[in-house]
């Protein structure tokens, strides 16, 4: 392995980590007042998961059947995003010999993350560490195997009215924990060993996703700083995007990259995938209102508007540049819009969402098409190009377009505060992903051998093939 290849990467990560430390200290002081200033109103409460540290104690409560119904539905919708949504979105884009291998990745990750979530990850992300000092960083093992959850308990967020049972909350959050690593697969498509993928998933879920979710949503040090992230732009998309970039660089290019025709094998699958992502994202964004109310409504509308504008923007740029608007472009643009509106969906008004969509459509086109070509890395299905870049665009623009008449919590928005949240995520995700990949390399090995890569994942890894 040529370690030189990673120099720029290492520099970036180091810089991010260093920059983050003093900023953290500076912000920590303002955290409490910021939280105190938040009105205890309904809207605030509903939006709080994104912006407030979680209360340490589970609370007694009265179930609101309507809120609970919407959260149960949202859970189903978000799971639908990964299987079969993302599986098909990615499965349609690879070459024919890798279709089964690619959809199997999303499927097995769904199983593996469910296992780690049950065993320790929920506890790390949303548990309350007995050691209060450590609780800033991770939730500890106290809630492993859900042993602290009871039937008459709600999980809640500081200041929010608890209306849904904790089992529902945990189940909903699990679907987010599932899709995040599954997004990374786009970066190392068509070349990773299946055993490496399994090990990577387990380690990454526990060591990267768990802690970051705790920092932002579970009572950790980032949540109280006023970073606006309604539905997970940082925790999910920037996190997965950066991890994807690291994977693409560490694994290296696919054999034949740049010389062979690697056109998508079946854009109908990709269209189905993009559509299910779109519909499922209603659960992701509108579900992040943690209730069935006007905030959920506007989050859904913002999601719809931003997605449409981003898809149309991507289409237009491509139409001008390549003379033909492609189905792949429409689907990619839609996902770019979905990603970018994620942190903003419960803070901005539809006009803001439209602008975010337009910027994301053009910006992600630029990164997936122009930048990737320039820098010559093989982020095969644009995990970084769409999720990393789109996530950053969304996180920053939320700081500009947040509208207090939509959500009172967005009042003191600032693009700087937003940037701050990104830095920590990038640093932790980047460094840890690298370390985890090295562990896989030393144990399972990372990449399929060349002959297997030529033959394709389907036969080489799974002994299966499409017989169409």
């Amino acid at each position: 392995m040529n370690i030189m290849r990673f120099k720029p990467l290492a520099g970036l990560l180091l810089a991010a980590t260093l920059a983050g430390a003093p900023l953290a200290a500076a912000y920590a002081q303002d955290a409490a007042p910021a939280a105190a200033a938040a009105p205890a109103a309904d809207a605030a409460a509903a939006a709080a998961p994104a912006a407030e540290p979680a209360a340490e104690e589970p609370v007694a409560f009265k179930t609101d059947t309507g809120d609970t119904a919407w959260m149960l539905t949202s859970t189903a919708l978000v799971l639908l995003m990964t299987i079969p949504g993302l599986a098909l979105f990615y499965g349609g884009m690879v070459r024919r010999k890798n279709v089964i291998g690619t959809v199997a990745q999303s499927f097995v990750m769904t199983c593996l993350v469910t296992m780690t979530w049950f065993l320790v990850q929920y506890s790390i992300a949303f548990g309350t560490n007995a050691d209060a000092g450590m609780n800033k960083y991770w939730g500890g093992m106290g809630n492993a195997m859900f042993k602290m959850i009871t039937m008459d308990q709600s999980y809640s967020i500081a200041g929010a009215t608890p209306t849904i049972p904790e089992y529902v909350f945990s189940m909903y959050q699990l679907t987010f924990a599932i899709i995040t690593p599954a997004l990374i697969c786009g970066a190392f498509a068509e070349r990773m060993k299946f055993s490496a993928l399994c090990l990577f998933t387990v380690l990454w879920s526990v060591l990267v996703y768990g802690p970051i979710a705790h920092w932002v949503w579970g009572g950790g040090f980032l949540g109280g700083m006023g970073v606006l992230d309604f539905a997970g732009g940082t925790v999910v998309h920037i996190n997965a995007g950066v991890a994807g970039l690291v994977c693409a660089l560490v694994l290296g290019k696919r054999k034949g990259f740049g010389t062979e025709n690697m056109a998508p094998n079946n854009l109908v699958y990709t269209m189905i995938g993009a559509s299910l992502l779109w519909v499922g994202w209603f659960g992701f964004n509108a579900g992040s209102a943690v209730g069935s109310n006007a905030l959920a409504g506007v989050a859904m509308m913002n999601t719809q508007v931003a997605t449409a504008f981003a898809a149309l923007a991507w289409m237009l740029v491509e139409w001008i540049e390549r003379k033909k608007p492609s189905m792949l472009g429409l689907a990619s643009g839609a996902v770019a819009g979905l990603v970018a509106v994620t942190p903003a969906s419960g803070f901005v008004n539809p006009t803001g969402a439209a602008i975010i969509g337009l910027v994301a459509g053009v910006g992600c086109y630029a990164s997936a098409v122009w930048m990737k070509k320039l820098l010559k890395y093989d982020d095969s299905l644009d995990a970084f190009g769409v999720h990393g870049v789109g996530g950053l665009i969304g996180a920053l623009l939320t700081g500009i377009f947040a509208d207090a008449s939509i959500n009172a919590l967005g009042k003191s928005h600032s693009i700087l505060t937003q940037a701050y949240g990104c830095v920590f995520t990038i640093a932790w995700s980047g460094v840890l992903t690298f370390i985890i990949l090295m562990i896989c390399k030393l144990t399972t090995g990372l990449r399929m051998d060349e002959e297997a890569e030529v033959e394709g994942m389907d036969l080489a890894l799974h002994g299966e093939a499409l017989h169409e």
Binding site: N261, A263, P264, E318, G329
Partner: protein
């Protein structure tokens, strides 16, 4: 006996088949193939990558006919397959030494 191999544009398949039947050919076998020649393939676009597809979809017809029929059959193909545009395709003629109808065991022209 001769083997006539014709490579033609896919949407001409039915017309060529009818022309051959009209010319007295009773059996033929068709495969989907990709051709490389003067006519160039489409460009495919995907997320910034662009790829000149080198091959054009064609169909290949193979018919074994009596020596006497050969000229008529080739003529029929030519008339039916021509559009006058580049990529209309080719006809090749090869000698066949023997033929057999599996069902009956007939050989020679009787097998056709």
């Amino acid at each position: 006996m001769k083997l006539i191999v014709a490579i033609v544009k896919p949407f001409k398949l039915d017309e060529v088949r009818e022309a051959l039947v009209a010319a007295g050919v009773e059996g033929l076998t068709v495969s989907e193939v990709k051709g490389y020649g003067r006519q160039k393939g489409q460009t495919e676009i995907y997320r910034g990558a662009e790829y000149q597809v080198n091959f054009v979809p064609k169909v290949k017809l193979e018919a074994v006919v009596d020596d006497a029929q050969t000229a008529k059959a080739v003529e029929a193909i030519k008339a039916a397959a021509a559009t006058g545009k580049i990529g209309d395709g080719k006809v090749f003629v090869l000698k066949v030494e023997d033929a057999l109808r599996i069902r009956t065991g007939e050989t020679g022209s009787g097998a056709l």
